[in-house]
Subunit: 235 residues, 2 copies
């Protein structure tokens, strides 16, 4: 059975890396001693090693060891053998480009669909959707495709931000950007606020965390869904 | 001689469309009766016709007529014949995709380099750089390439935003995003704040408007440049 956590962010304001999720992850990853970490998204351009050390420190608090995918000579085998997989945030274009370059899209999707527990945060959540077309990241690398893992039948907009009242900045709001998306694409988009995540168990998709999420469907007015709502019928 | 305006935004807060630039545009476009408008970026998914009407209304104030590129059967010929060209904002991926699709990149570059006065705002400024890799837009369409017109030897980040003091949002700041860019690319990036523009006359590139711009060079600490500074040596 599939077990997937699709989290808006790794870190909520005023709290440590993954801290808000750790209690939950202790149960979620109970059958895994070691987490395979995919550090490809490199937030702020951090090295794969340095990024893996951050993740090691966080998971040590719940007695898990962490191994970076970049340390394996054969990353395909590493994914096939993994007890659990975590893909952290950073730049979604860099992440998906590296997954394509190393020919890992298929094997990652197969491992997750056959039951390897998966945690994604931010960029690691973007790739769970059909495409990465709702990332907030800067397109600093041209990837071979925007197609992603398609673990859920919609797209993810992590770090979802409501329009800022009284802002004088003329750049597009997040809602306008997603509206533009629906001029060219018909699949739904789930805007996940920081502190929210989707939990996929088999075919069941439930919104978790304390906040509502904002759902954007093609040709519909965007709407809010509360925590614990099922998104099974969203497609 | 080349004449290019690369503006951060079409509209500054509390003012009408293009209003802050109109006096200047009256002189700048003095030899053109008609402006060829390229509406491809479609802000908010607006139609080409509706977008062109907005631009018509603005330019009517300085007695210019406007024709939308989408109304020509042969857009290549229309660009070659244009007295002046304006490319407005919206989504940069949609804009560049349509330019590639209609095979217009080369002809547009040639027209501008041979002296057709050009105005770009926002997405229309992004395409003046080497690549669109510093756009803030959502990648809602997968274009054939991120390579742009290369009218200046660096990239543009329009609507440049300083880090927001006291923000609790954990998404990357603009500066972090550009820092990530420099892990994979070496060309400079000019962060243009709203109300600023670059004016290119021949090989001379001058920052205009009241605000300083922020320059990001590879392996250097980002720095501010004041209005009226020449950026001729930035490459």
């Amino acid at each position: 059975m599939r077990n997937i956590i699709i989290a808006s962010t790794s870190t909520i304001h005023g709290s440590g890396y993954l801290e808000y999720l750790l209690d939950h992850l202790e149960t979620y990853f109970k059958d895994a001693k070691n987490i395979l970490f995919i550090p490809y998204a490199r937030p702020g351009g951090i090295s794969h090693n340095a990024y893996t050390r951050t993740v090691e420190t966080a998971f040590a608090k719940i007695n898990k060891t962490v191994t970076g995918l970049h340390t394996f000579e054969n990353p395909t085998e590493a994914i096939k053998q993994a007890e659990a997989i975590f893909v952290g945030g950073g730049n979604t274009f860099v992440l998906i480009n590296q997954l394509y370059k190393n020919n890992l899209i298929g094997v990652l999707k197969a491992a997750i669909n056959s039951g390897t527990p998966y945690l994604g945060t931010s960029a690691g959540s973007n790739i769970c959707g059909l495409t990465i077309k709702n990332t907030n990241d800067m397109p600093i690398i041209y990837p071979p495709s925007f197609n992603a893992l398609g673990l859920v039948p919609f797209n993810i907009n992590p770090h979802y931000l409501d329009p800022i009242t009284g802002s004088t900045h003329m750049g597009e709001t997040r809602e306008t950007r997603i509206k533009e998306f629906h001029n060219f694409n018909t699949n739904p988009v789930v805007g996940l606020r920081e502190g929210s995540w989707l939990e996929v168990s088999g075919d069941e998709i439930i919104l978790k965390g304390t906040l509502p999420a904002r759902v954007f469907e093609y040709n519909k007015t965007p709407y809010e869904v509360d925590s614990e709502t099922s998104l099974n019928n969203l497609k």
